[in-house]
Amino acid sequence: MKLTLLMYLIPSLIMFGCGIYGFLTRKNMIAMLISLELMLNAVDINFALFNRFLYSGNHEGMLFSLFAIAIAAAETAVAIAIIINVYRIAKNVDINQINKLKF
């Protein structure tokens, strides 16, 4: 059986959807961060896929996914540092407890 573009694309889109769902429903900040990671990884898969199946003449998509991975790592590092920073005062990473600023 030959693997087509769609057979890779559907899992990546499902992954992206799971990421959005997780980000919106999870109450734990670390779990939200994991959901964000899922979304960013779905994007990386997408770029590599389109490049490999549709535009294999150049390497623009592969290069972009390399950069996207690096950016995702930087984002996670900053986010983790800030979550730890909050945890030190609130002793908690539950977003229902971190709600002192609201209208």
């Binding site: 992206f16 990421g19 980000f23 900040m29 939200m32 961060l33 964000l36 979304m39 960013l40 779905a42 994007v43 997408n46 770029f47 389109f50 490049n51 549709l54 535009y55 623009e60 998509g61 290069l63 972009f64 950069f67 996207a68 950016i71 930087a74 984002e75 900053v78 986010a79 540092a81 800030i82 979550i83 920073n85 909050v86 005062i89 609130a90 971190i98 002192k100 600023l101 609201k102 209208f103």
Partner: protein, 488 residues
């Protein structure tokens, strides 16, 4: 490699030089000289501004990824002026006992984010654009968490970083769909790819919506504005001022370039209407929420949401008049908003009071602060003869220059909202001048750097509107930048 390409980016090189000098000073100078670091940064930055005003180089470099034109040159100089005021305002705050250990980091991160915004403005390839966007947004999360002694600052940073990463994931998804549809990430190639598509391609529409959502977050347009008030309230006031004018202004310019250059052929059918809805929502919701705020920083946050809607009026015009009026609006907005933040910061540094009720009777005790705040509020509300009136006038002219009836209606909605916004801007003026309070903020003398920043802002508010040469030169700059509106 052809190293002469670097001559195309004199402003970025100069900024990088300032960053390196500040970094070396922070790292290697003895402890006793560290207290001078903020002023040294201000001086370096002032020299750099003079350098950045040298006549622009125009052209493309680095495989056409980076474009320097007269319009980008003008926009970067407008941002430079704003950053100079922010740096001047923050001198006193970074010298207090709690922040002074980390003051070097504050200046380094501010300069780095500015570099990211410059890349965003000049990028003609989405890879460079994304790198610029991330360079501009990640250090801002660290800056929002800068006041470590306050819990609010940490919470604000957590909210900012979560929403920033979420929106950039959405943006990247949009870009991947765009790449799938057109096979390139160069703005010019994408534009030709999109114009070759017949009829409606749903993949492109989804990609456009995702890109608008991702960048709209940075400008805090309404469905994506939920982070704004919390972050503005919790972050240190210097960072709030930076976020509200510099970050917003650069993102608005980059947004216009992307919409016009990449999605130019979809203007009539698609993105004009998307942006239409966003503008109506942004102006109205921003105004309605601003009315019920008691905390001044939160109030300014919602006011800046509604101002972002006015900035977008220049984008929806999608022509040279629109772009020129948008740049002018951002320039005026920098002066008026930073004047307001300057007063808020001076009072907060002195006694830590930030609610509107604390300002009761301010005119009796501190007439000059009250006067500056009044000018800022008048300018934000658009009362003649201050600059805010002229910027609103030109942005309405810019939007109306398209001549379509729907946009006339939009301009009318914006006009009605201007009247609503006058109500809450004048609430602050009323508190300062009319209402009395026994325990009003006592008379105090603000730091000379804060006063200098306020003088620059007041001069800007009064003269940028009256001196017509400012608007004319911005129009000339935009007209000298060809090919910008080729695809419309």
């Amino acid at each position: 490699m052809d190293y002469s390409q670097f001559l195309m980016m004199p402003q970025e090189i100069g900024l990088l030089a300032v960053f390196l000098l500040v970094f070396l000073y922070d790292t290697f100078m003895p402890r006793t000289t560290q207290r001078a670091l903020p002023l040294v940064t201000v001086v370096f930055f002032g020299v750099y501004i003079a350098w950045a005003f040298l006549p622009p180089a125009a052209g493309k470099c680095f495989g056409e990824m980076f474009e320097a034109s007269n319009a980008t040159w003008g926009m970067k100089n407008i941002l430079n002026i704003g950053v100079f005021i922010v740096l001047l305002q923050s001198v006193k705050w970074t010298n207090n006992d709690f922040v002074s250990v980390r003051r070097g980091e504050f200046y380094e991160l501010i300069l780095l984010t500015l570099l990211g915004m410059f890349l965003m403005i000049s990028a003609r390839h989405f890879l460079l654009f994304v790198i610029g966007l991330e360079t501009a947004s990640l250090p801002l999360a660290a800056l929002a968490a800068f006041e470590k002694r306050y819990y609010e600052s940490r919470e604000a940073a957590a909210k900012y970083v979560m929403t920033a990463v979420f929106s950039s994931a959405i943006l990247l998804m949009g870009l991947s769909l765009l790449y799938g549809a057109c096979g390139s990430l160069y703005f010019s190639n994408l534009a030709f790819g999109i114009s070759a598509v017949n009829g409606i391609n749903w993949m492109l529409i989804v990609a456009l919506a995702f890109v608008m959502a991702g960048v709209g977050f940075k400008i805090s347009l309404v469905p994506f504005h939920l982070w704004t008030a919390d972050v503005y309230q919790g972050a240190p006031t210097a960072v709030t001022g930076y976020l509200s004018v510099i970050s917003k202004g650069s993102a608005a310019f980059a947004f216009m370039v992307i919409l016009v250059q990449v999605f130019g052929t979809l203007y009539q059918e698609v993105w004009q209407w998307m942006l239409y809805a966003l503008i109506v929502l942004t102006i109205t919701v921003g105004n309605l929420f601003a009315m019920r705020q008691r905390n001044l920083k939160r109030f300014l946050a919602f006011s800046s949401v509604s101002q972002a809607g006015y900035v977008m009026l220049g984008v929806i015009a999608a022509n040279q008049v629109g772009m020129a009026s948008m740049m002018y609006y951002i320039l005026v907005y920098i002066f008026s908003n930073l004047a307001a933040f300057g007063v808020v910061m001076a009072i907060e540094n002195h006694c830590g009071k930030v609610t509107i009720d604390d300002y009761n009777g301010l005119f009796k005790t501190n007439p000059w602060l009250a006067f500056t705040m009044m000018l800022a509020m008048f300018s934000l509300g658009g009362i003649p003869p201050f600059a805010g009136f002229f910027s609103k006038f030109f942005i309405f002219v810019g939007a109306a220059s398209t001549g379509s009836v729907a946009i006339y209606v939009l301009v009318f909605i914006a006009l009605v909202n201007t009247i609503i916004s006058l109500y809450y801007y004048l609430l602050v003026v009323k508190a300062m001048f009319i209402r009395q309070d026994e325990c009003a903020i006592e008379r105090f003398k603000s730091h000379w750097t804060e006063r200098a920043a306020m003088v620059i802002c007041v001069a800007g508010i009064i003269f940028v509107g009256l001196a017509s040469c400012v608007y004319t030169s911005i129009v000339t700059l935009v007209e000298e930048s060809p090919n910008l509106f080729m695809m419309i």
